[in-house]
Amino acid sequence: MKTFTVFVGLCLVFVFVWERVDMVRVGYQIERLKRDKTMLERQRDELRVKFSTLSASDRIAKLATEKLGMSPPQQGQIIVVQSRPRNVRPSSDVVPVELKVARNYLPTGRL
């Protein structure tokens, strides 16, 4: 009985010590993961800003005009057309399908 009590006591001490040691180990692990998380969040933020900078309308317009030789449509070049199936009569119930066509690029032949 005495031996058993000492054994149980030693086990409890071991469990207590093991718990404390493991807690510190997990603490280090958490700290390392936190640092990784912070680094990744920082990278994510930098990439978001970079994406936003690169996708700015101003920049794309500048690239389109200066590098690709494109130009904004001039007055009257944008024509909004209504597309309606041939067998459907005009009706207020029909929802028109809007297409935007720059006049310069309208095909001369069949669509």
């Binding site: 603490g27 912070t38 800003v49 936003s52 900078t53 101003d58 944008i78 024509i79 057309v81 297409l99």
Partner: protein, 572 residues
């Protein structure tokens, strides 16, 4: 004898033990009782670390969630001069990375101080290069830096924040209480190697980040407005320009452009004159665009109808010993033509028929002489004097847009109220406030200020303003396939030297809405001091047309004259 010696030795040993215990006890009392507080604090300092963390400033996005302002953690570099062995070598190593002159860095590193900032808030690329170095006496701390990824786009509205992260201008300033993150001081446990440990029971909660803002601004519309305005200001060699695009039904600001622009990422070299949001701070004499409001008041009060005939006095009329001129020698014309031809004499006569009190009442009802209460800082009130301070010519002058100061925002709000069937809305730029997880904390709804005129009057005025585009002074504001309503304005500026109207300095403007029958956009273009052909119809109206056409296409607004594909092909 032996027994007494043994007893003696035992006493000596006992005495020695007692002395030893006494010494230990006295030391314990010294450490645990007398020096307990000091030593406890010393121990805490060694295994505890107190850090002050600041929550990131909230992000700002446009109405489609496109990023306009965001905080990113970047490196700031400091030096500990006493710990730097070779200031000359260190300065030379750091200079090309920090973009600071070597002699300037050396001077800082030779100071007799324990801490000096060498460079704050570096670019991420600079930070990465710095990480490759390891120099004694040089340290790095992370700080939040505000980035405006679109550069100059919307800069006058966004404003900017200072080095310490506080909002100084624009939305950054107005919504400071929402945007700024909360500071939090945390006590961390660390081991002998300085590594952080979180013992049981310690909960770790980071600092609270600031709230995010969603704007009513559309990045694409803003970009179009800024581009066309910059082009117009450049072509006209003008001093500055302003353009506002509103949704007339809600008062939501879709774009607010000011030229010249500035980059909020680099404001240190610029002054307030450059970053002032002229769209809501600067008052100008509106000139003929004010005839729109005068016409609405006169029709609402049944002083005139669109077909009422008015005599144009063949271009000259004397009021209070001064002569009012028209640029066209008009005879009998309808009131609608008075507005379409922008007749000063017709407007003055109608205004005088309306009378001081009624004219003043409508000026106030349209929102002139008072703030629109837009959620941006620095808004001006303009200048509308009380009728008791008016001179004999004031009614005539105000009716044609003189003797009155308005801001572009006041003017476009007033015009938008006509587009909105006579109901004045409160303009606004922030539509939602969100927490860091994206949950909506507050949604800002459109706010009606008051009804100014009846829907019937609004329809009559719209029809008159459509005539300005088809047969009047605003033909260059026409948009292919859409009915446009608007009014030109060309106002002489006061010459500060003589105190009289200048013959060479003008403010050219155009304000209106489109499509006229179901307005989606209310816009104003104001060009300050254009050179050459300075008429509002020549300088400002084309900007309205170009921006309007592209924005309507972008929004997918069906045209008033829908064409089939076959018709489009025939046209081409």
């Amino acid at each position: 004898m032996t027994g007494s010696f043994s007893r003696g030795r035992r006493y000596v040993l006992l005495l020695l033990f007692l002395c030893g215990f006494g010494l230990v006890l006295s030391r314990l009392v010294t450490l645990q009782v007398l020096q307990a507080a000091d030593l406890s604090a010393k121990a805490d300092r060694q295994h505890q670390k107190t850090v002050s963390l600041e929550g990131a400033r909230g992000t700002i996005v446009d109405r489609h969630g496109k990023l306009l302002a965001k905080n990113v953690e970047v490196r700031s570099v400091f030096g500990v001069p006493n710990a730097v062995e070779n200031p000359v070598k260190t300065a030379r190593q750091l200079s090309p990375i920090l973009h600071v002159r070597a002699d300037e860095l050396e001077r800082k590193l030779r100071q007799n101080r324990s801490f000096v900032w060498l460079a704050r808030k570096l670019d991420p690329e600079q930070g990465r290069r710095l990480d490759l170095l390891s120099i004694d006496g040089i340290g790095v701390v992370m700080e939040g830096r505000r980035f405006y990824p679109k550069g100059p786009l919307l800069a006058h509205v966004l404003g900017f924040s200072g080095m310490d992260g506080e909002g100084l201008e624009g939305i950054e300033h107005r919504y400071e209480s929402y945007l700024h993150g909360e500071k939090q001081t945390m006590v961390l446990q660390r081991d002998g190697k300085g590594r952080t440990v979180f013992p049981k029971g310690m909960t770790e909660r980071g600092p609270t980040p600031g709230h995010g803002l969603t704007l009513t601004i559309d990045e694409v519309i803003q970009s179009l407005a800024e581009r066309e305005l910059e082009d117009a200001v450049g072509r006209a060699q003008a001093k500055s320009g302003t353009m506002i695009v509103l949704d007339p039904k809600s008062g939501a600001v879709l774009a607010m452009a000011v030229s010249p622009r500035f980059d909020p990422n680099a404001v240190s070299a610029l002054g307030p004159d450059r970053w002032r949001n002229r769209a809501l701070t600067d008052a100008y004499e509106p000139g003929s665009t004010m005839k729109t409001m005068m016409a609405a008041a006169a029709i609402e009060e049944r002083v005139v109808r669109p077909n009422t005939m008015v005599f144009g006095e063949h271009g000259h009329m004397t009021v209070a010993n001064t002569v009012i001129h028209d640029h066209e020698r008009l005879g009998w014309v309808s009131f609608a033509q008075v507005i379409q031809k922008s007749s000063n004499i017709g407007a003055a006569k109608t205004g005088m028929a309306l009378g001081e009190q009624r004219l003043y009442r409508y000026l106030q009802a349209f929102g002139f002489g008072q703030r629109t209460e837009i959620d941006l800082p620095g808004e001006g009130v303009g200048l509308v004097r009380n009728p008791k301070d008016w001179g004999r010519r004031s009614v005539a002058s105000i009716s044609m847009g003189q003797e009155i100061g308005v801001t572009p925002l006041q003017m476009v709000s007033a015009v938008a109220s006509i587009a909105n069937g006579g109901v004045l809305m409160k303009p606004y730029v922030v539509s939602e406030i969100r927490d860091a997880d994206g949950h909506i904390l507050r949604r800002i709804s459109p706010q009606v200020k008051r009804r100014v005129i009846s829907p019937e009057t609004a329809r009559s005025v719209t029809k008159i303003l459509e005539g300005v585009i088809t047969d009047g002074t605003g033909t260059k504001a026409a948009i292919h396939g859409f009915r446009v309503a608007g009014k030109t304005g060309t106002a002489q500026k006061i010459d500060p030297r003589t105190g009289t109207y200048s013959a060479t300095r003008f403010v050219a403007s155009f304000t209106g809405y489109v499509p006229a029958d179901s307005p989606q956009l209310a816009m104003i273009v104001v060009i300050d001091e254009p050179q050459g052909d300075a008429w509002g119809g020549a300088v400002a109206a084309p900007v309205f047309s170009r921006v309007g056409e592209q924005v309507l296409s972008y929004l997918g607004v069906p045209s008033n004259e829908p064409v089939t594909l076959a018709m489009a092909l025939r046209k081409s």
